[in-house]
């Protein structure tokens, strides 16, 4: 199970991104296997299940782990970078759909609004800051709880007078919160 | 009791506000009031120094009131040194309460007004209108 979370400012600039995997087993066989039927460049998980998004320091894109993916393409160093870029593009591409849908609904949680290959896009609109989550299995309830969690964390960050809506979030504590919530809910 | 007028004297002794609320006392030119306020400030400062052995713990204050034929004045000194002087008819009652009310209006309408410069003449329509209401309720 791979996930990619992006928080996008009202000016459509990226505020925060994080890719992570979950350890929970997939729900049933209907979920898309991330390595079999789709091009390998669009996945985050190597065959051994290692998480490409993390290392000990919590940086999102780290080329060190590229080595594990070297088996897949041969261009070991560029793979995580490429994956990250693709996820960024998918997330921002889906902004159009998000804006279209939010005009006519009062729901904060917009589930499964877009698809791109094996990625499903869900979004959460609290105010004019958008949380976009790319996931490869359906898990509506878990994702809803996850969104509510990160929303609370985000509001706490926002209440900091030294933070503005358009400031990228660099707090490692925020990242840890999200990882913890992902572990609980996803 | 009738209130004839109110002066506000700044810490430095300058008259920053003066209004007349009755026509019992003959109106004075502004310069005269300025001089009178300056004299009052001086007397207040001198009287504050006249106690030879002040009782420890009790703050030494200056002139508190003065009386003339048919009218008098009461001085109220704030902790920050601003003086309110009320000119009133005799006999008087409830002056302390009135001065507290004036102080409250001053704190609200003058000190919380961003367009007021401390120690400068008070130029607040809110202050004037609130005082007017207060005084007409007393004088009525």
């Amino acid at each position: 199970m791979s996930f990619y979370l992006a928080i996008v400012s009202p000016l459509d600039s990226p505020l925060f991104e994080l890719s992570f995997t979950s350890s929970k087993p997939s729900q049933g066989s209907s979920s898309t296997s991330s390595t079999s039927s789709f091009p390998s460049w669009s996945t985050f998980t190597a065959t051994n299940g290692s998480d490409l998004g993390t290392d000990g320091l919590g940086t999102v894109n780290n080329n060190k782990v590229g080595g594990t993916l070297g088996l897949l393409s041969g261009e070991s160093k560029t793979i995580p970078e490429k994956n990250r870029a693709i996820c960024q593009m998918i997330a921002h591409k889906s902004l159009d759909s998000v804006e279209e849908i939010m005009e006519s609904t009062g729901n904060l949680y917009l589930k499964n609004i877009d698809r791109h290959n094996e990625w499903i896009v869900s979004a959460f609109i609290a105010t004019n800051v958008k949380f976009i989550l790319l996931h490869d299995i359906k898990n509506d309830e878990g994702i809803r709880l996850f969104f509510l969690d990160i929303w609370e964390s985000y509001v706490k960050v926002l209440l900091n007078p030294f933070h503005t809506v358009n400031t990228p979030i660099r707090s490692s504590a925020f990242e840890n919160k999200i990882r913890a919530s992902a572990k609980r809910n996803l | 009791m009738t209130i004839h007028g109110l002066w506000v004297i700044s810490k430095a002794g300058g008259l920053v506000f003066s209004r007349s609320y009755s026509d019992v006392l003959p109106p004075q030119p502004v310069n005269t009031i300025l001089t009178l306020a300056g004299i009052l400030h001086g007397i207040h400062a001198i009287t504050a120094k006249l106690t030879p052995t002040p009782i420890p713990g009790v703050p030494v204050s200056g002139l508190e009131s003065f009386e003339a034929e048919g009218w008098g004045g009461k001085v109220f000194l704030t902790p920050t040194g601003t003086k309110f002087v009320v000119l009133h008819s005799l006999p008087q009652a409830g002056l302390d309460e009135l001065l507290r009310r004036i102080y409250e209006i001053y704190s609200d309408a003058v000190m919380k007004n961003p367009f007021h410069t401390p120690e400068m003449p008070i130029n607040s329509s809110l202050f004037e209108s609130k005082l007017q209401t207060l005084m007409s309720s007393v004088n009525a």
Binding site: L159, A173 | M111, K112
Partner: protein, 287 residues
């Protein structure tokens, strides 16, 4: 412990240090650094503080094991002990903002006076950095805008959490949003809802929020040469950011209309002029 609790709130004062020194010098010590036999002056006390401190810290090592300390020792060392506890408490207070409960301050209010003084300073500060009334209003408005962004997020989150909504919602139609501002937002900030919400009779895309006496600016009287300034520009910016946050771009301005209403001389109108896009969308969504 009761004796040592007495020390816990205050760090050891010079007098307690002094008493410590006199006690030690009288009871046991031959190694005091005093050369003068009688050190009553403040100067000599402060001078000898380092040595007495060292002694305190050296002895404090004994304390954890010492159950049967005499009351005298407790008195002396209690202060030191409790200092350590204080430090620990202080460290515990440095909790990450993300771990702090969000609703602790839910029902707390701040004194109007403290706000009034701060707002007064904000205006004076801004005024010294602008050239014109328009710029001053812009500055106040942008400050209000930042406040509004935070308040909107917080209110939405709290509403969701208190009602424990499974599927949280927000308003997305024009009129409910305006009512949300009129009641909920105003109540959150000012403790009461706005005094009126009206639609402009002149144009379709203008709405007005009316307050007869705003707590924010009730103590302010604007000098005559700046008579077109309204310090409610702060509220206008706040309203604008809430509208923006709910995807209703608008231009919001504040206007003082007290001269037309003798009963409420501080009456202010927050004029909301909605973006054309909003009106188009409302038309598509229908009534």
């Amino acid at each position: 412990m009761s004796q040592s609790i007495g020390y816990s709130t205050t760090p050891p004062t010079s007098s307690s240090r002094f008493s410590l020194q006199s006690i030690t010098s009288s009871s046991s010590s031959s190694n005091t650094t005093t050369n003068t036999p009688n050190p009553p002056s403040l100067y000599s006390t402060t001078n000898q503080n380092p040595s007495s401190n060292r002694r305190e810290s050296a002895r404090s090592n004994i304390i954890p094991s010492g159950q049967g300390n005499s009351s005298l020792q407790q008195q002396i060392f209690g202060s030191n002990n409790n200092l350590i506890i204080q430090q620990q408490q202080q460290q515990q207070q440095y909790v990450n903002i993300l771990d702090r409960p969000l609703n602790k301050s839910k029902n707390s209010e701040i004194a109007l006076s403290s706000w009034a003084f701060m707002f007064s300073e904000i205006i004076s500060y801004s005024q010294s950095r602008v050239d014109s009334v328009t710029d001053l209003e812009k500055r106040l408005s942008s400050l209000g805008y930042q406040v509004g962004q935070r308040i909107l997020s917080l209110i939405l989150l709290r509403n969701t959490q208190t009602l424990n909504l499974k599927d949280p919602k927000r308003e997305y139609r024009l009129i409910p949003i305006l009512q949300f501002i009129h009641t909920q937002i105003y109540k959150f900030i000012f403790g009461k809802s706005a005094d009126g919400l009206e639609k402009s009779s002149e144009s379709e895309d203008e709405y007005m929020l009316i307050s007869n006496e705003s707590p924010l600016t009730q103590f302010i009287s604007v000098p005559k040469d700046m008579s077109d300034l309204s310090c409610e520009a702060f509220t206008a910016g706040l309203v604008e950011s809430v509208l923006d946050g709910l995807d209703l771009p608008a231009r919001v301005t504040a206007h003082w209309v007290g001269d037309q209403y003798p009963d409420t001389p501080q009456r202010t109108v927050i004029l909301i002029k909605l973006d054309g896009k909003v009106m188009d969308r409302e038309e598509v969504l229908g009534k």
